[in-house]
Amino acid sequence: MPAVSKGDGMRGLAVFISDIRNCKSKEAEIKRINKELANIRSKFKGDKALDGYSKKKYVCKLLFIFLLGHDIDFGHMEAVNLLSSNKYTEKQIGYLFISVLVNSNSELIRLINNAIKNDLSSRNPTFMCLALHCIANVGSREMAEAFAGEIPRILVAGDTMDSVKQSAALCLLRLYKTSPDLVLMGEWTSRVVHLLNDQHMGVVTAAISLITCLSQKNPDEFKTCVSLAVSRLSRIVSSASTDLQDYTYYFVPAPWLSCKLLRLLQCYPPPEDGAVKGRLVECLETILNKAQEPPKSKKVQHSNAKNAILFEAISLIIHYDSEPNLLVRACNQLGQFLQHRETNLRYLALESMCTLASSEFSHEAVKTHIETVINALKTERDVSVRQRAADLLYAMCDRSNAKQIVAEMLSYLETADYSIREEMVLKVAILAEKYAVDYSWYVDTILNLIRIAGDYVSEEVWYRVIQIVINRDDVQGYAAKTVFEALQAPACHENMVKVGGYILGEFGNLIAGDPRSSPLVQFNLLHSKFHLCSVPTRALLLSAYIKFINLFPETKSTIQEVLRSDSQIRNSDVELQQRAVEYLKLSSIASTDVLATVLEEMPPFPERESSILAKLKKKKGPGAVSVNELEEGKREGELNGGGERGGDNSAIAASNASTPSPSADLLGLRTGPPVTAAAPSAGSLLVDVFSEAGVNDDGFLSSAPPSVVSEDPAPPLPESNELLNKFVCKNNGVLFENQLLQIGIKSEYRQNLGRMYLFYGNKTSVQFVTFTTTVTCPGELQSHILHIYTCKHMFILAYTCCDKLNVQTKPVEPLIEGGAQVQQVINIECLSDFCDAPLLNIKFRYGGALQNLTLKLPVTINKFFQPTEMASHDFFQRWKQLSQPQQEAQKIFKANHAMDTEVLKAKLLGLGMALLENVDPNPENFVCAGVIQTKAQQVGSLLRLEPNAQAQMYRLTLRSSKDTVSKRLCELLAEQF
């Protein structure tokens, strides 16, 4: 046990600490501590009143136990008692205990505050300092409430001792950080600023921290500090090393104060007053000059203190960014440090140069050090230094050196530390994209990344290469060729398989002419990787396969066979099984036209901020990627924009162009509006949908309907039948209207195919968000919904399929601005005759409230009529042929509308049948003929309508080769007249 040097400590405490240190095991230690705790507890609870010394000793033991990492749940009261002792050492231990172990027991806080109040008003500077230290250490809101008003008074009072002023200044700083609303400087402001002139250096050192913090929040109120700070700095910088006596540290005058002064100046722009500015520039030059002087001491403390000031001065120079001369000098100085033998200096020089690289005055000067920095990346032994070197290379990269830097970073990646690989990958990917002049270089770089560091290539990176390839048709062929070659490697990374699958699925046709990469060769190559891949990748490959069926009909049977195999169609993974089943079904039932539409090449992605940049920002925090960086991108982008593809230039460039405020965007780390993730929107990114699916464990592509809102679709509106009837005889018009929304329809039919345009109009002035629509065939048909997310970001085709109808819905914008209208296209294929119309469910949020409504899509069997002209003779012959009772349907009903011959004719024509003149002997009657076209069969139908004007009644008779058709047509038409 060492002799206690001074003040004769507590012997019992020393014995206890020795005991603990002698404990051979953790258990023994805990046992000893529990014994001690029991002892202290009994002492505190005992009848005999403890004297102050014992109390102090036990409180100190409790503190020691707590600092060992054990919980302490008593003794607080005894510690508070010590605060009111008039013995300094007892008070001191009491305050220490409170500082370390304060809890927000309100009763206790009141007692503590009381004790503090007494000490603050004691006029004993030692007690006052203890109380102020306690407030500064605890810094709670309760303390701010109690003392924030009193402390400024102590700080500026003329008779306050220097040491108390110092404590008061920093105490106030701590309270200001906790509760800025409670610390009101007001009338004290100017006197606090003038503490910068205090003759006691310690007071200035303490006060300046407070002033800096206050200046950051209220720069205008404190701006007089600038000239005071400059003159103080000037006096220190020009002083001889002995002038400041004990404030000189290893021959450096007042290094802490100098740094704090330079830091304070960084809260303000360069001084406007010419004289002040001149004096400051002089200081900065002196500091730079001193760096070149021989050291006054060999001690590291000397050089550290000196360089601390130098780095702070350089920070100020960079902050001003207005003195080219100083910036270049700073850069040269840092350049010297890059090769310094002190690792710390190399580290800081690399770090500081990163910010210099973004100044237009010094960017070129920084670039001259490229070889040194590359060397640092290769040879530094400390990973954190290498990290700085990589950061600097990234910061100094521009068009002129991009290829060199990217190549160096790629080669470094092969041996890079695991801890920085992912970030390196992101940086390489961003630089490659940003400075790509020819995109084949970009594609090569990214594929190299995957080859070298596949595990660290995040989704964002490979999504991005796909986005770019899809958006730039000049690189698609090259990309297909390159991935095809890369996939030849016997062991290639799964990310390569993903990129390869996607790109070949989209653009495999571009290299299919070469027999070495014929469709079947491509397919076999991809499929050879299939079994080694994870479920999400397999899912992606299945999507690539169905795309192959569309691209290369000759692969259809091979691929169908694969899909049909038990390992696919009965896969235990639901997602894979579903895909196999659905793709197989799709490939066998859909016509080539439908297949071509569903599996059409992906449209270009909306140009927006690179998802990788967003990721890097997220990784580094919002501040790390400067606005500058984005603007840099913009600058480069504009250059790019002059290139061959005009508007369709680099994705980053366009993203900037479409981003109204880069600073706002910096904070929005997530690209795209937050609601688009699951909406089948044209605005969401690949990333969004994929990451959404990643969150669900469902697998890669969610098979849930593309609905953002969890609510089930509403039941059809009561009036939906009526609305449907309105469109039996017409194809265009307003389907639905309420106070918010109007839905217009235009449709056209040919043979068994139809195309419908829906126009959703927002009648309000407020935008509709998360607007989604879903089309389903009603349950009676045992339909199932087949949403084919064609392996793609936003281009989600909802494919509703039942035995009778194929309805393919193109995506609709998820956001409808007030007063705006969006359009949706729906393709319909009639497979066989049907009764029930598909249901259209619409969901959106209007002012936060979910709107959910379901209508019947006006698709009725008569839409697929082909009119058949025939002579009277033929008509009656066929009429007689359809004479079986079930082939006829008849209705006698009352007229709902005026019996106007012309109106009736127009309606019957609208029905889609041919209106046959001069067939029926009774000229009042109407007869029509037509054939309903379905994929499965054609259904001939004949109609006879006999009006009775006197009775205001009709008799309607329908005969068809299929009973269900007669019945359905009869039902539909009975409502029309």
């Binding site: 046990m1 600092l67 030692t126 500064a136 250096m201 690792t343």
Partner: protein, 157 residues
Amino acid sequence: MQFMLLFSRQGKLRLQKWYVPLSDKEKKKITRELVQTVLARKPKMCSFLEWRDLKIVYKRYASLYFCCAIEDQDNELITLEIIHRYVELLDKYFGSVCELDIIFNFEKAYFILDEFLLGGEAQETSKKNVLKAIEQADLLQESQTEDWGGLANEEIL
């Protein structure tokens, strides 16, 4: 500065000073992580590292690591000299300080730190002034402890 930790080569925490409000749980977690990170570094490596969104500045003196967490705009080198000045203060006070001095007189180590740094900022950088304040307190202590000189027997527990 957000906090300062002193720990031994064996990873035993000897002193902790927190200048930002954190829960005990969070403090323990930070300590554990940081002690591990710093102890894993090799001697010639640089004294600074990025950790979470903070900068860590550390230096080893004999068997003790002194480790400070500072914010982004704070100056690494001057923090390194804060550490050094604190070591000088301890050394001067205890006379050639060693780890045991800090273990057995932990309360003194805290008092000295409070005179030097307050609220995470340098309060008084003059070695003389700091030591003068501590010595004055010790004088008060000595004059008061005389009263208790005869009670040594009770002190064993």
